[in-house]
């Protein structure tokens, strides 16, 4: 999936302008493609989330809900939000032709993303030792699968961020051509949005 996104980003530049005569609706094809992909990602998480909600409602497991550490995850949420913030800072940086800036900010994003994953890992291990495992209840199964796949998306985002930084380092981005950064941003913010929703539905409600 990540590879596909890469190829999508790669394309546009290869096409001379006459390749896409009639830019209908003033849409940029890379952004449109990314949004379409995100819309299907909505449904992917939708499938897992509905499963989770279904079991949360029909087979509640209060003892395990009690194990969830809202404060820890709250901090983690804050970290992810911050990483989104640094992405947009990076975007404005490159829009002002500041290559160093975009590299620095995306670097911070990677760092924060890594911290988020570490936090999630810590949470999983903690829960595991407290007896909440993949097979301890349907609730637990759904919980680990849902948060796990979100974690996977964050991980993919990390790799992607790395590649974006590398491209920036190669000087592929500038005030005129910053599509790559923006596309990556869309993905990262989406993963952030998903977490905002999950945080509420899993830990708070």
């Amino acid at each position: 999936m990540e590879k596909a996104m890469e190829t999508m980003k790669a394309e546009g530049s290869h096409h001379e302008d006459h390749f896409r005569a009639g830019k209908a609706l003033g849409l940029d094809h890379r952004k449109l493609g990314m949004w379409l992909f995100l819309s299907s990602e909505v449904m992917f998480f939708g499938g897992l989330l509905s499963t989770f909600l279904f079991y949360k409602v029909n087979n509640p497991s209060p003892s395990e809900v009690a194990l969830l550490d809202v404060v820890l995850v709250g901090v983690n949420t804050f970290i992810l939000l911050t990483s989104s913030f640094t992405v947009v800072l990076g975007l404005t940086a490159i829009q002002r032709n500041n290559v160093q800036g975009v590299m620095r900010f995306l670097g911070i994003t990677m760092l924060l993303g890594a911290v988020f994953l570490a936090g999630q890992g810590y949470e999983f291990v903690k829960l595991y030792y407290e007896g909440m495992t993949l097979s301890s209840s349907v609730f637990a199964s759904a919980f680990f699968t849902l948060t796990g796949f979100h974690g996977l998306h964050v991980f993919i985002g990390l790799i992607w961020a790395g590649l974006t930084i590398f491209k920036a380092y190669q000087g592929q981005y500038s005030a005129e051509e910053y599509g790559g950064v923006e596309i990556f941003g869309l993905y990262w913010h989406f993963v952030d949005i998903v977490w905002i929703v999950l945080f509420t539905l899993i830990y708070l409600v």
Partner: protein, 542 residues
Amino acid sequence: MSTESVELKQENNWKRYFTWNTDHKVIGVQYLVTAFAFFLIGGALAMLIRTELLQPGIDFMDGTIYNRVITNHGSIMIFLWIIPVLAGFANYMLPLMIGARDMAFPNLNALSFWLIPVGGLFVLLSFFIGAAETGWTAYVPLSIQAPDGQTIWAIGVILLGFSSIFGAINFVTTTFTMRTEGMGFLELPLFVWSMLATSLLILVATPVLTAGLILIAMDRVFGTIFFTVQAGGDPILWQNVFWFYSHPAVYIMILPGMGIISEVLPVFSRKPIFGYIAIALSSMAISVLGLTVWAHHMFTSGMSPALRVPFMITSMIIAVPTGIKIFSWLGTIWGGKLRFTPSMLFSLGFISMFLIGGITGVFQASVPFDLYVHDTYFIVGHLHFVLFGGSVFSVFSGFYYWFPKVTGREMNERLGKIQFALMFIGANLTYLPMFASGMLGMPRRVVDYAPELASLNLLTTIGAYILGTSVIVFFHNAATSWLRGPKATSNPWRALTLEWMTTSPPPIHNFEELPVVTSGPYEYGETPGASDTRQTLEVTGD
């Protein structure tokens, strides 16, 4: 001109069909050939099934083997034949039809194709490694207790899902951003409209199946207990997730077919399509409505009774946009100057057979009647009328229609007509008796059945063999025509859509110079021989 000949040399290099090639035309051919290969495999399995059912009693397959065969027949025909073959047409034709030089994301396009052989390999492997044997619906808990092949099968289907998602992203983006000058949304050929509707459907529905299959795989591999009933797992959950994709999948498989029909009928009736906007919008309506009907596959499950009625109503309403299409097609041929090429014959065959599939669909949408025929051969008959009489007929219609454009050669019309005759008779003989056998008490997916159903099943099997023969005729025709059929002109059917406004086969970048669209795609009969004047009009327009 010299560049032309250079490109033609590249055109003739067959090796590129086995490489990571980003030309949408190469990818289109890769799609088509791969899909037809899987069509042969799936068809062979169908022949096995019908031979086993030729007479009552367990003849040469026991229950286990039989279940493996039907599982792979279903999976292959759906995920590796109809969906890819239609995507193949779209890959080849959609950019040409909107006057683009390629798809929006050529590399992503190549990826979507190459996922298919890989995913297909997994599905086939599942046949040999402990085998998936739960039907393509993979209902839990049966699919949890099934052998390892089930996991491999699930991985294969997930990969194929990614393939169609990436394809859908490409089609929508291409249609939105790469239309040539003057090609507004109301100048889009109806095939493009139908691909738009299909792609949106794929984008929304397919990921849900992916999620569901991941749940099954997790249960089987990582010991989660989503579907362990003793622990509170719920089998109905899987049915919701599965059908949320797999009912829309039916429209994913039929909408492009309807698009092809809407291209073919005007050309061979020499008449504008009747009710362009109605047909275009009905495609959209079907894809939106199609997302809200999935639970009609669960009327007999323990789902909450109150929910059945709303789902019955939405399912019934789907008949309205479908009816609009059928009547519009009738209106199109009405008063035309019909020319019965094989392509046209398959389109007419599509209408007459899809009609039966559609009507029986309304029957099943009615909850009480569904309580009767659900999971019986009535359903098998219905779905084959839709997917074979519908989708597959449209595939052949499109194949005969676009073959000259893709290969630069003409197909043998006589063999084509023989194939149509055999296929039309065979299909009806195969699937009509199924309605009766189902109502008389033949459940779906049985290796054995009550003796009194023998004669009906005999008919079905005979029909199936006729179908098999017709397919052989087709492959013979396609192969010989491709190798040494007469050279085709750039526009043998005097059609007006843009794919005909370039050479057959088209040059690497499709058009010497991008055509400018000055009139709709079906302006037949406007001025005598409009079709002749338009081509020049197009190319000089730029």
